[in-house]
């Protein structure tokens, strides 16, 4: 068996701000690095280490990450200011929030940077899912275009804006949990949750209570 490579060196190629606090980082991809859509890596720089889910499809030539610049966040701040071309260390891919084929209706639910695994899955060819995408305002609905193209239904849920903005987007005014409860009939579904701990907590309890038998796969971000 080939030895497991513990870490890789990648160079930062581009940085693109998606809104005032979130940016996308593109890095080189080592040829011997493999991953599944939905997995994450640790990026390591100057003694700091943080985990980020890969946005790219598993056959992409570069590795893309969506990163929220956290207030006082050492790593997210460092990566936001890193000179392009700088090398950072990257772990092997880890994580189990990967798509499992099913006969059931599939719902992806994301808030914030938690959209990353679903962008990767869509890029990898996963189709037919419904995407419930939560954000405070429309500027937080990252990768909307890619997700609309792959999803059978895309539902933006805006919780920090007026009802009219949500309606203009063809979305829902309120949290992802409220949308789900108000719109999803009883049944057995496969739910994939990624985002804030509060969202995962609330969605999990909602699904357990009102949609018993539903499968839940989840991963919490900060």
């Amino acid at each position: 068996m080939a030895p497991v490579i513990a870490s890789y060196s990648v160079s930062v190629l581009t940085r693109q701000w998606l809104n005032e606090e979130t940016y996308e980082l593109t890095c080189t991809r080592p040829p011997e690095f493999h991953f599944q859509a939905g997995q994450y890596v640790s990026l390591m720089h100057q003694g700091e280490e943080r985990e980020y889910t890969i946005l790219s499809s598993p056959d992409a030539e570069t590795l893309r990450f969506v990163i929220k610049q956290v207030n006082g966040g050492i790593m997210s701040g460092a990566l936001a200011n890193l000179t392009l071309g700088t090398t950072v260390e990257m772990s092997r891919a880890r994580g189990y929030l990967t798509f499992r084929p099913t006969d059931r209706q599939v719902y992806f639910v994301a808030t914030g940077a938690g959209i990353a695994p679903f962008v990767a899955m869509a890029a990898a060819g996963v189709k037919g899912f419904a995407m419930i995408h939560g954000a405070k305002t429309a500027s937080g609905l990252f990768y909307r275009k890619e997700l609309v193209a792959a999803a059978r239904q895309y539902i933006p849920c805006l919780s920090g804006t007026g009802a009219s903005e949500a309606v203009m987007l063809g979305g829902y005014h309120g949290h992802v949990t409220a949308y789900t409860r108000a719109n999803l009939p009883s049944g057995l579904y496969d739910f994939y949750l990624c985002g804030s701990r509060a969202m995962i907590h609330d969605m999990t309890h909602l699904l357990d209570q009102y949609y018993p038998g539903t499968r839940i796969y989840s991963e919490a971000y900060s």
Binding site: Y40, T102, D190, R197, T204, L207, P212, R215, S218, E219
Partner: protein, 187 residues
């Protein structure tokens, strides 16, 4: 990634295959016992004399194998999630047999029942053995009353059976090398 979300605060948890089940579900009991076994093996390893490097390597390999086994126990056998799991290496049970034979060579033939105990490290090995037997019982119950089996669960069953024997021999071996005689059962 966060360790806690509170999603299990009301007594349910997700299997690796996504199903939400009560925390006392037989599948959770089964891999919970395996987790307990792994922890007790950690205690055995912690008490191991520095001179027993081969056994230390054995235990590290076994602990890793139990992680693989735990993932299989946490997954409904006919689910698509099994495609993401790593099988136990095919030779693990045979390797344990080889280690049992090697340790047994240093031991006198067993003619009477022995009382579990002796040196702390040997006593922990006996505890590990009994937890391992419980894991075996849980697994057979899981296979019998729950959602069936597959080749991997059958392989894990063999592995646990062999591991119990290894831990029994290991306890005797450790008492021997540390100079403590096993106490026999006096009827």
């Amino acid at each position: 990634m966060k360790v806690y979300t509170g999603g299990g605060d009301k007594g349910k948890t997700s299997l690796f295959s996504g199903e939400r089940v009560a925390k006392h579900h037989i599948r959770i009991e089964a891999y919970g016992d395996l987790d307990e076994l792994n922890s007790v093996l950690g205690a055995v390893a912690a008490y191991l004399p520095d001179s027993e490097q081969t056994i230390s390597d054995d235990l590290e390999g076994i602990q890793s194998n139990l992680f693989l086994a735990g993932a299989w126990l946490a997954t409904t056998p006919d689910s698509s999630a099994t495609g993401y799991l790593t099988p136990l290496p095919a030779t693990v049970s045979k390797e344990l047999e080889g280690r049992i034979d090697a340790l047994s060579e240093a031991l006198p033939a067993l003619k009477e029942f022995i009382l579990p105990g002796g040196e702390p490290v040997a006593a922990w090995s006996h505890v590990a053995r009994t937890v391992c037997r419980r894991c075996e019982r849980r697994l057979t119950e899981l296979i019998e009353v729950s959602e069936g089996t597959n080749d991997e669960l059958a392989a894990i069953q063999v592995y646990l059976n062999r591991l119990s024997d290894y831990l029994f021999v290991l306890a005797r071996y450790l008492n021997k090398v540390l100079g403590t005689a096993d106490k026999t059962w006096k009827k």
